[in-house]
């Protein structure tokens, strides 16, 4: 809501600057987003009188104007506007002036002729094209004849005003009107606003002679009121009214339409004017549209209406989309002579829906949606009729057609002083509370700290005690509120064990060199479904903004790959990322809400170890990322054993370099290289990833921590080197070793692996250290030799190894 400071001063005595006012309103109730001075930045722009014009000798459209600027002789100004003419008072930007957009005007020559400045259009001195009157849209603006030559133009155009742009929250729709704002400012400064009202002078002819009105369903239009004005002469409105409109961001049109807009700004009561002769009947019926009913609105658009739309009809067809936009057919034109003026209250929900349905949000619909002062519907109608009659020499017919109307009544709300202070944590006296209610123009009575507030219709947002408490708090002043801490019993503030584990996990992954990423959870349908740990159905949003963010992810890897691609495209080729977050898994397509499962995933590409002065570069490989996964899983201290199983069936993963990860017999994740073809699609280099079901890891059974005394008996080790077929896995060998290792085999460590020219093709050489220890006694070499011999035997017999 753009509030004119000058207009506001008509209603309330203000002795503060617009900026002080804006600050005060912001701190007590309604945020002022901007305080704008229309003449800000303009300089040396004055009224000129065009004495004569003659065509420019070297141009077919420029005119040489002799312009009186109030000083000595008239000066010559070259002007290209088609409407410039002798006898006009015009806007002149003098040499050395500044016009809109901080543009400087200099004395100059145009096609050989001297020009001492510029004759301006409204847009050239800062008016938006949307508000400049249509009549002057393509030319210069003509000032009123009594404008003083040589004087600054600003006061003549209302540019010496200040405009406060109020951000109105949905609860304060009362401030979508000048009168509402005046009440608010009055409450803030403890001043009483004063308003003028106008009653039209009625002719003897009753309105019922020319028009009948009815409302089909009272709920749709609980207040519906019409007046008729005859013998209207359509012409421009007086300049003062035009100024008020354009300063509020509304374009002046003509004396009838302007008055409807003016009264809407003044009272917050939207009005509509119909051309009586084009209604096509002597009847107005407010009803629902029939499904598919046609209506062409003022903007020229044709609509097929819905049965949820409230329309104004002439008894047979719709002529107006109620509260949203008028129909083109009954629009006020220069030929209009009889005006039907409407002031109504429509059902907010239906107005909102209609405005949304046809994308026709307007000043009127926004007010109907958020509420109307029930107390001023008829006052506003009378005021508008009176102004139209004044400006158009029209005759207001006797009486108002009101098929429905509301009898306005104050709302009584009760609250106690004790309650107010209990909620606010303050000590505000009863006298102070009474004073605040009075400033708000509420009726108030108090008995033993119990307040009864009688809330006038202009504050329809107030209906419960909490509303009154808020009014007291804001007007008493939040700056006077003390800062305290709640006195109630203390409660433990601790993270849950799971929350703590997630934080520890993040630290481990970061200490392992991975940067934490946060990706978008909404992605493409294809990416949502890649890299899924288990099959699930997708969850899509109904109206996505873009296909890129349309479906909820079912994996974290695709997002990380997008991130890698983003980095690689920017020449960051060594990237290590992890992400912890939700995936959204639906059992099947029929389920509406997905299960939200916490996952953690990592992705590494490029060099794991960059080349340094003392180390060669080390590209990332499977075992680095597997090592991180192992450390991570180790941290969870799971009871069941973690195993890795080669898998060639994950479509987006390298078939020879991927392992599914099991805890006991539960699949919890996978680790491996991205399939080279998928790498190509993502435009990334070789990349290794892991993805784990974090929810599962958090909930799986943990191993109890049991202290074991450190054995004082020494360990004995034996090394064994094996030549085996290249497809024999480390897992198979270590399993075999442990199977026959005996009671004292503590540990088996692979310390060498070799394939290459020095050994037979199709074979590999592996070397293990076996560590034996008896916690209860010193092992003898004989005992270990016997145990070790059994291991060697099984390796030869079971694995087909050659002991080297």
């Amino acid at each position: 809501m753009k509030v004119s400071y000058n207009w506001l001063k008509d209603y309330i005595d203000l002795d503060v600057t617009p900026e002080e006012l804006a600050n005060k309103i912001t701190l007590t109730g309604i945020e002022v987003e901007d305080t704008f001075h229309p003449d800000a930045g303009l300089k040396k722009i004055v009224v000129g009188y065009v004495v004569s014009t003659k065509p420019h000798p070297n141009s077919d459209h420029l005119q040489l104007c002799q312009v009186d600027l109030g000083a000595s002789d008239p000066v010559q100004i070259v002007c290209g506007a088609p409407n410039v003419a002798a006898g006009q008072k015009v806007i002149v930007a003098l040499p050395g002036s500044r016009i809109a957009n901080n543009e400087k005007i200099k004395k100059g020559k145009m096609r050989g002729e001297v020009s001492n400045g510029m004759i301006c259009a409204l847009q050239e001195i800062g008016f938006s094209t949307d508000v400049a009157p249509q009549a002057y849209a393509d030319g210069i603006y003509v000032l009123p004849a009594d404008a003083k030559v040589g004087a600054p133009v600003y006061p003549y155009l209302g540019m010496d005003d200040a405009i406060l742009d109020l951000a109105i929250t949905p609860n304060r729709a009362d401030a979508q009107s000048m009168r509402g704002v005046a009440y608010e400012v009055g409450a803030v400064y403890a001043k009483k606003p004063h308003f003028d009202v106008a009653k039209p002078v009625e002719t003897a002819k009753p309105v019922t002679d020319v028009l009948q009105a009815s409302v089909a369903a009272e709920k749709d239009a609980p207040s519906y009121n019409l007046r008729v004005i005859e013998n209207v002469k359509i012409q421009p409105s007086p300049l003062w009214l035009q100024i008020r409109l354009w300063n509020a961001g509304i374009r002046p049109i003509n004396n009838v339409v302007d008055v409807t807009n003016y009264v809407m700004l003044d009272y917050g009561q939207p009005m509509h004017a119909f051309d009586y002769d084009k209604i096509g009947s002597k009847e107005i019926l407010v009803r629902r549209a029939t499904e598919g009913e046609a209506l062409t609105t003022l903007d020229g658009n044709e609509h097929e209406l819905s049965a949820d739309d409230i329309v104004i009809s002439n008894g047979t067809k719709a002529i107006n989309l109620a509260g949203v936009m008028g129909g083109l057919d009954s629009e006020i034109t220069d030929q209009t002579t009889t005006v039907v003026l409407e002031a109504a209250i429509f059902d907010p929900m239906h107005i909102r829906k209609s405005a949304q349905r046809y994308n026709l949000r307007s000043e009127a619909s926004s007010r109907f949606e958020k509420g109307i002062n029930k107390g001023t519907v008829l006052t506003a109608l009378d005021h508008a009729a009176s102004l139209i009659a004044d400006f158009s020499d029209g005759d207001v017919l006797a009486g108002i057609l009101s098929p429905t109307k509301i009898v306005p009544a104050a709302t009584v709300v009760e609250v106690s002083q004790e309650r107010i202070n209990h909620v606010l944590g303050m000590q505000i006296s009863a006298a102070e509370i009474t004073k605040i209610f009075k400033r708000l123009a509420f009726g108030v009575s108090e008995m033993n700290g119990q307040f009864k507030a009688s809330v006038p219709t202009h504050r329809w947002d107030i209906s419960i005690p909490a509303d009154l408490i808020e009014e007291v708090a804001r007007l008493y002043g939040y700056d006077k509120m003390p800062t305290t801490l709640p006195a109630s019993a203390s409660t433990p503030g601790i993270l849950t064990p799971q929350q703590r584990r997630v934080r520890q996990m993040a630290q481990l992954l970061e200490a392992s060199g991975l940067n934490q990423a946060i990706s978008y959870a909404l992605t493409t349908s294809e990416k949502a479904s890649q890299f899924t740990l288990i099959p699930a159905a997708t969850t899509s949003v109904a109206w996505p903004m873009t296909v890129d963010h349309a479906v909820l992810r079912m994996n974290l890897v695709s997002g990380l790959l997008d991130n890698l691609a983003y980095n690689i495209a920017r020449k960051q080729v060594n990237v290590a990322l992890y992400e912890q977050g939700r995936v959204f898994l639906k059992q099947d397509a029929k389920t509406t809400r997905p299960e939200e499962v916490e996952y953690v995933a990592g992705a590494v590409t490029g060099d794991w170890q960059a080349k340094t002065w003392n180390q060669a570069a080390k590209p990332v490989d499977f075992y680095q990322i597997k090592g991180i996964v192992a450390a991570l899983l180790n941290q969870f201290n799971l009871k069941a054993t973690v195993t890795y199983h080669a898998t060639a069936t994950r479509a987006e993963m390298h078939p020879g370099r991927t392992a599914d990860i099991y805890v006991g017999d539960q699949l919890v994740g996978f680790v491996g290289q991205i399939h080279p073809q998928v790498e190509k699609v993502y435009r990334i280099k070789p990349t290794y990833v892991f993805q784990l079901n974090l929810t599962a890891l958090l909930t799986l059974e943990k191993q109890a921590v049991v202290y074991q005394a450190i054995s004082k008996y020494p360990v004995i080790t034996r090394d064994v080197a094996l030549l085996v077929a290249s497809d024999v896995t480390n897992q198979a060998i270590t399993d075999a070793i442990f199977a026959k290792g005996g009671a004292h085999l503590k540990n088996v460590t692979l310390f060498d692996s070799y394939t290459g020219s020095k050994i037979e093709k199709g074979k590999k050489s592996l070397a293990y250290t076996l560590t034996y220890q008896n916690p209860g006694a010193t092992l003898t070499d004989d005992e270990v030799n016997t145990a070790f011999a059994k291991v060697e035997k099984t390796l030869v017999e079971q694995i087909g190894a050659v002991i080297r």
Partner: protein, 349 residues
Amino acid sequence: MSTLQEKLTQLQQKGSQDIKAASDLKQLNDIRVKLLGKKGPITEVLRGMRDLTKEERPAVGSFANKVRDALAEVVDQKKAELEQAKIEQQLATETIDVTLPGDQPKIGAHHVISQVIEQLEDTFLGMGFKVVYGYEVEEEKYNFEMLNMPKDHPARDMQDTFYITKDVLMRTHMSPDEARELEKHDFSQGPLKMVSPGRVYRRDTDDATHSHQFFQMEGQYIGKNVTMADLKGTLEFAIRQIFGEEREIRFRPSYFPFTEPSVEVDISCFKCNGKGCDVCKHTGWIEVLGAGMTHPNVLKAAGVDPEIYGGFAFGLGIDRFAMLKYGIDDIRNFYQNDVRFLTQFEKRG
């Protein structure tokens, strides 16, 4: 003086000179063995004592022992000297350039959004709040209905929503968790104190200041005697943890459907200390969060009696906090995960 003693004195003088002249440990050892060994001259002198009288023997014996001890000490001294020299020589050859870079383990960065969340969590944990994480895919009931936003409430316009179905949507704020906790809480066990940080979604086109996904944290404190002054105190404490001890806060009236009174909370600008600068748009104040006293309809909807219980709720944008704190000018930075962005914040807090 006996001739033996003279001989010993000469031995001592000569021996000392030889020891001191030794150039390395091996030579020193040779000298030691030659002088003090079993076949050495001192042993020989002692053997010659049998020619002495009984009276002479103790004096000469004691003298001989003294000479031997003195020489042994000279040997030890020389040995220490030579060892010291040897170590110094070794150290000289082992000198390295200590300004060469160390082999630094690669440490990943914690995302700045996570850092801000954890800092806030820790602050409220310290005040006895618990941390809860709700659902990202919510029921309309919890996202709107129970928060005093019935169907067709104009405030729903303030939040453009991604719907999944008519009744299921991507949460537009963290308030659903507050409704869920309020519904579950057993007030006989004390007040409800919780914060809930998480990812929220709005139907917005991504640009420098808008994102269809961002992070919020909401919190509430509902009990028997919780006042708006307590809200102010609690937020002041939290704000000072994040933005510095000297921050002031102020309340400005505002509107949220789920609180009344509702306020916007401004903090005094941490860049200019309230003098006015670009960060605070020359007002001296920066809007950082919204808060208010929980609306009676919200309490009622969760089955809590607003006549007995009441309290406050607040909500803030994590992204906005991070942007303010570090002067980040484009919200998309948080979700593009450029490593050059991520690693700027690895110093945790």
